[in-house]
């Protein structure tokens, strides 16, 4: 039994716990042992065994009292962009090394309230800036499918930990693709909901108008369970959507009208933007995505051609808006109130300068400089305002597409995971790799990465599905149907199952 525990996903573990096949304490101990054995992955930044075991015991006690919910006792770990009481919250930055938050992020608090056991905090790019987890001040996380490769980013630790079967699920955040791209690179399922579905309270801000929390897990079903628990209106976040709590799992299970057992997606129109299939798209990615789309057709979906003509423009638009917001959001890290403060300084100005020079890594500094520049007097209109206009047009382009289709599909990233260090000297090349995830982020739309096959070097390839606003139920339903017919999502990297 115990050897298979770590292969189980959230839903399966929930059933095992409910049936008394295993206790949360046993499960937690088992996974903590695995976490320790996989230290070399660099997935975890903080753990507290006693804290986790205490939570597991409480979950078991809760179950004994007959008060268990569907997630009670199931372990999870959190991207270190969420602040947590009891575990340091660093955002992957030296600036916040050892920072102790006096409160839990809303998402964390909700998952805890649902009975989940926290196994620790997960590595990520510094302040969520990056797409390879190589910008973490605490070293890179590695891809369990190939330790020479990156797991993706910025939620790289989350994707690596789920892929390596260290945790059944993890939280992530997605600003320009930071859930979907690492999910794709690491062969796990991840969903970024519509902007406003999850509270941003307690998420250390990168770009406020884009940041969204979401789960990374083994399946669409697991994501549906997690998203139901972590989402919902929060009066502490003025941008959170005011609407009733959602049962995404029930929405996922609701059959489509006219569906049959063999054709559960009958009538679903999937739009394929021609811009998402450029000539430069890697052949292995193209092949896996096309094969997955053929599977969707078999399940009853129809594929229609659509266009998102401003796809390429989403890169400059994003790399103006996100750094602009970041440059302001990161101003609070000044050495005055919390976090790192330089030891030697002569006056206030030198305290600021040295603190920030020492505390921030190169990519964060780069983005602060870009953001400061585009907001400066005389440049604001040419850059920031122009980018905001284009952002609205990009959102309008999606609405035009949704006249002809229910979901949009394409690759998550142009390639499979690259080798660690490969893109160190060329930040712009890394920015370009975000091209397929940025448009949906700018529009605030929900998007998923669903394991769709394998490419070069046996590395996973993710299929991206994008829905209209608040259409998470439809997204999850389609992904679930695909996962009922395929097993890409349940395959584990070689090293992971053996351990």
């Amino acid at each position: 039994m115990s050897s298979a525990l770590h292969d189980m996903g959230v839903a399966r573990l929930g059933r095992a716990l409910a049936a008394g096949e295993v206790s949360s304490l046993e499960l937690t101990q088992h996974l903590l042992t695995r976490v320790a054995a996989f230290e070399h992955l660099g997935a975890f930044l903080a753990r507290d065994t006693e804290l986790s075991l205490a939570q597991a015991r409480e979950a078991d006690a809760c179950r004994a009292r007959g008060q268990a919910q569907s997630l009670t006792g199931v372990p999870i770990a959190h991207k270190d962009i969420f602040v947590t009481r009891g575990l340091a919250s660093t955002a992957g930055s030296k600036m916040l090394a050892g920072y102790a938050s006096p409160f839990d992020a809303t998402v964390v608090a909700r998952l805890s309230a649902a009975g989940m056991v926290t196994l620790g905090k997960l590595n990520c790019d510094e302040f969520a800036m990056g797409s390879a987890n190589e910008n973490s001040a605490f070293g890179p996380a590695k891809n369990p499918w190939d330790l020479q490769r990156v797991p993706g980013g910025s939620s790289g630790g989350s994707a690596a930990a789920v892929a390596a079967r260290l945790v059944p699920a993890a939280t992530g955040t997605d600003t320009g693709g930071s859930i979907r791209q690492p999910a794709s690179f690491s062969g796990v399922t991840g969903i970024k909901p519509t902007y406003g579905v999850c509270s941003r309270y307690g998420m250390i801000a990168f770009a406020s108008s884009l940041d969204q929390a979401g789960p990374l897990a083994r399946s669409a079903e697991d994501c549906a369970l997690l998203l139901s628990a972590m989402s919902g209106f929060d009066e502490r976040d003025a941008t959170s959507a005011e609407r009733a709590p959602q049962d995404f799992h029930a929405q996922m299970l609701t059959p489509r009208e006219g569906a049959t057992a063999a054709r559960p997606l009958q009538g679903l129109r999937i739009g394929l933007p021609s811009e998402f299939f450029p000539a430069a798209l890697a052949a292995d990615v193209n092949g896996a995505v096309r094969a997955a789309l053929a599977e969707f057709e078999k399940l009853g979906a129809t594929l229609v051609g659509v266009s998102l003509p401003r796809t390429e423009l989403s890169i400059p638009v994003y790399y103006i808006i996100a750094p602009a917001e970041a440059s302001s959001n990161l101003s609070r890290f000044d050495g005055v109130k919390f976090g790192h403060r330089a030891k030697d300084y002569s006056d206030l100005r030198s305290m600021y300068e040295r603190t920030r020079a020492e505390g921030f890594g190169p990519e964060v500094k780069r983005r602060i400089m870009i953001g400061t520049y585009v907001l400066s007097h005389g440049y604001y209109d040419a850059y920031y305002l122009q980018a905001q206009k284009l952002r609205r047009m990009i959102a309008d382009d999606f609405q035009a597409c949704f006249k002809d289709c229910d979901l949009i599909a394409g690759p998550v990233a142009p390639t499979v995971a690259w080798k660690i260090g490969e893109q160190h000297d060329d930040p712009v090349k890394a920015y370009l790799a975000d091209i397929f995830t940025l448009p949906g982020s700018l529009a605030g739309l929900p998007g998923m990465s669903v394991p769709a096959g394998f490419g070069e070097g046996g590395m996973p390839v993710g299929l991206q599905l994008i829905g209209n606003y608040f259409d998470e139920g439809r997204l999850l339903h389609a992904a679930h149907a695909f996962q009922q017919a395929t097993d890409f999502h349940s395959r584990a990297p070689a090293g992971a199952s053996a351990a």
Partner: protein
Amino acid sequence: MSAPALIRGFEVVIGLETHAQLSTRSKIFSGASTQFGAAPNTQACAVDLALPGTLPVLNRGAVERAIRFGLAVQAKVAPLSIFARKNYFYPDLPKGYQISQYEIPVVQGGHVDIRVGEQNKRIHLTRAHLEEDAGKSLHEDYAGCTGIDLNRAGTPLLEIVTEPDMRSSAEAVEYAKALHTLVVWLGVCDGNMQEGSFRCDANVSVRRPGAELGTRREVKNLNSFRFLQQAIDFEVQWQIDRIEDGLPIEQATVLFDPDTGETRAMRSKEDAHDYRYFPDPDLPPLVIAPEWVEQVRRDMPELPAAMAQRFQAADGLAAADAVLMTQSLAFARYYEALRDACGSAKLAANWLMGEVSKRLNAQAADIADMPLPVQTLAALIRRIVDGTVSNNGARQVFDALWAAAGGDVDALIEARGLRQMSDAGALEAIVDAVIAANAKSVEEYRAGKDKAFNALVGQVMKASKGKANPAQANELLKRKLG
């Protein structure tokens, strides 16, 4: 309207920016208390400290107060306004930016009418916007460092900006006073200037009549009307000196030193910040539905100008008296209660302007500190009206009432022997006796000497030991001598 007075041949141009602290119990973007005077950093929550992960949520009470102000100055209440971030580094600015409104403020336009001497003048407002206050740096030696107190960080402010409409420090002070009265009247600000709840920045420039606007210097943080006047007066002389010496005026931010009465430059235009304003992505646009504005309008108190009009029309008060009765809402309420209780608007106003204001002013107190209940003062005035006591006698009773913070009016009149003679027979006897004993004065009066009549009245008062009602004595004398 007469041409503005020139100073050394220059016209003075002034615009004011006033920060009125809004009277909400909690801060504009957090739930922490706004109570003044707490121990440092005891009223700063995670949001005020800008801890990682915190977010601002707008306090609707602050918006409601902005709407109330906008309606009172007949401004446009913007159906949609935007919060922006003003970015700069300072230790008492925890987020590294101040949340304010920049391109689209919540209150647009409007005006405040003032009276300077015998002149009415309309001061136009450019805008009023919502923003948060910063914390305080405590530069006095604090364990060898500068201390930071973030209790004030996040306190809601309404920044009220005028057009450059004022032409003298006197006008600026009148505007500031009128604005102060208004915001306190509306209940949007407690008006406490010592605690910084109401403070002004003055933009001052001078020019030759008819010339383009001169370069302005901004005097920051003036927290009394006297300082406002002194700072502007000093600044005007300083600027004229420079110009007459052939030196340029450079745009600058200056501070006023109350000890020396002088202003000195804090920073010049060259080291002005680039604040990199942009819309705050943490706060959706502020949408104010027409229904909300209407609800606020329904709950608006009658405004001072309208109330003064009513006191003139309905109570027959003189214009200047009506304005005095509306110097504050509390004052106006006291006046109305007194008027209704005593039955004489004129006497109620006279007593409030006279004895009451004299004593309150002497104690630097306001009507809220008035020791006498309305009913007590009204009882005294009624005794004047019904002739029981003379004005002079009433003042003596008032002194006693004030000193004891109350008392029984009738008992005091009796105890001090101030009751006027109400017995017509007794008065008649005295008048007869006075006429008989003063044949010379009677003769003179009949010969046309009015002075002689006054002497006779004086004799009657004397004979009655001051208890005769002078009006009655007058009438009776006239009748008997007629």
